[in-house]
């Protein structure tokens, strides 16, 4: 298990960051940036939840749904993979109000980033389901299970184990994409940094702290996903 090197990495970066910050009297920036970081974390968590739900629904609809659902799922996946996350964000925030739909900036951020990453995730889910050996479906038929039951109780639990590592990647992508939300008036970590930079011009210090903060959050995600992987792998060999 590679948890230890990761944990060491996280601690080193965190203390190095803190040390630099306290030595050079950067401390004044920390509270404001932490506020921004907290917003970033909230959007990341919300976005990840939306992404996983959207990905599961889209993948299952695409693989097993009736034709209209299948089409809907394919359109969603292609639309959100094929256009830029920034444009999606602007669309939900600036265009929807023209059609009478006004959403909170935070909701827009979580929905747009979640749906964007969910479109990639749908393909991850599909790949993982396809990778479950065919013998598992056949055993389910031999035990007279209806398709839905087999999918829910037999196939998906095995697919989950296989999809954890790629999801780790996607979650980190989502974290980094949250920097875009500063463009729809949200004071996230990137926004706070910009703002402080414009008033104090202490570019090196501010953006060094921001770098460390993003890195720390992403390492947290990695550590969490590794732990999840261990739990999923416990007692289960991916065999035939």
């Amino acid at each position: 298990m590679q948890l230890r090197p990761l944990a060491i990495c996280a601690i080193v970066f965190f203390t190095a960051g803190l040390a630099v910050a306290s030595f050079a009297n950067f401390r004044e920036f920390i509270p404001g940036l932490l506020q921004g970081a907290w917003i970033t974390v909230q959007i990341t968590i919300g976005g990840c939840i939306v992404a996983v739900v959207a990905a599961l629904l889209a993948a299952i609809a695409r693989m097993y749904g009736p034709a209209p659902l299948r089409w809907l799922a394919v359109s969603y996946i292609e639309l959100f993979r094929g256009t830029s996350a920034l444009v999606q964000l602007f669309w939900l925030f600036f265009v929807l109000p023209h059609f009478g739909i006004v959403l909170e900036p935070m909701s827009v951020a979580i929905a747009a980033l979640g749906l964007n990453v969910g479109a990639y995730g749908a393909e991850v889910v599909r790949g993982a389901i396809t990778a479950v050996p065919r013998g598992q479906w056949e055993a389910s038929v031999a035990l007279n299970m209806p398709r839905k039951l087999a999918l829910r109780r037999i196939i998906l639990p095995q697919a989950f184990a296989a999809m954890i590592p790629p999801w780790g990647n996607l979650f980190i992508e989502l974290l980094k994409a949250t920097a875009l939300v500063s463009l729809i008036t949200i004071s996230d970590l990137a926004f706070k940094a910009q703002q402080m930079n414009q008033t104090t011009f202490r570019t090196v210090e501010i953006f060094s702290i921001v770098l460390v903060m993003y890195l720390a959050i992403s390492i947290l995600i990695t550590v969490g996903m590794r732990a999840l992987e261990t739990v999923a792998a416990r007692g289960m060999a991916r065999g035939r």
Partner: protein, 258 residues
């Protein structure tokens, strides 16, 4: 004459232009033990897979316990079966696979409880009792909590047999169940099948390469060749005095390999 438990009526199976089974006619009596032997590609595994509804047939009708399975009666005519009809008739059949196909995310006990609870609707306590009994029967009473990855091939295959039996099938299908096992583990699996054949009134179909076991276990042996039954009969007759040249060739080749 009693109704056959399984009846293949002119069943044909094709993959593209390749005919795997060519108008097969085969009747199996209740409680009969039939061994199916033959060279690879002769269609013997396909017989079991069609009966388990893992393969659609292209022509003919399969009957189980007197009732058409692949088709259902509608206005006096036979039409292809609906999923619901398939599921109802399929409940009579259980299957054990060459590669076990146990659920790797469930313990041995859970493997045997899953379908009884969620398909048959048994209360959890009863399903657990039955699963434990069956695991005891296959000699794995002390491995109930083990996951498939913690069991040897022979043990996994015995769990798979218990799992199939937990659904109380009338017909059990064994598809080369010892072919993926190390030689020293074959005996323990055959021992379980032997007991089953003696103590339970089950109709059994077994595709096998273990000629010695087929001889001892089966009431009838069917020799398949190019999608047809080339020869069938009581094991003593078929193994000792094969009439067909193809049977003789096959048997001498298999026996030579040991």
């Amino acid at each position: 004459m009693t109704t056959p438990m399984v009846k293949f009526d002119n069943v044909t199976k094709r993959y593209g232009s390749l005919t795997v089974l060519d108008s097969l006619n085969l009747e199996i009596a209740p409680n009969e033990k039939v061994a199916i032997i033959g060279p690879s590609g002769s269609g013997k595994t396909t017989v079991l897979r069609m009966l388990m509804t893992l393969e659609r047939i292209n022509d003919g009708v399969i009957y189980v316990d007197g009732e058409p399975m692949t088709h259902m009666e509608k206005n006096g005519a036979l039409v292809p079966a609906s999923e619901r009809h398939l599921r109802r008739v399929r409940g009579n059949i259980g299957m054990v696979f060459q590669h076990f196909n146990l659920f790797p995310h469930m313990s041995a006990l859970k493997n045997c409880m899953e379908a009884p609870i969620h398909v048959l609707g048994l209360p959890r306590v009863e399903a657990e009792e039955r699963a434990a009994e069956l695991l005891d029967m296959v000699g794995l009473g002390d491995k109930k909590g083990h996951y498939p990855s913690q069991l040897s091939g022979g043990q996994q295959q015995r769990v798979a047999i218990a799992r199939a039996l937990a659904m109380r099938p009338k017909v059990m299908l064994f598809d080369e169940v010892t072919s993926a096992l190390d030689p020293e583990l074959v005996g323990e699996v055959l021992q379980v099948i032997r007991r089953l054949a003696k103590e339970h009134s089950l109709t059994m179909l077994m595709v096998t390469h273990q000629m010695g076991f087929a001889k001892e276990f089966a009431d009838r042996v069917c020799f398949f060749h190019s999608g047809k039954i080339a020869e069938q009969g009581a094991p003593e007759d078929l193994f000792n005095n094969p009439r067909e040249e193809r049977t003789q060739q096959f048997l001498s080749a298999v026996l030579e390999a040991g």
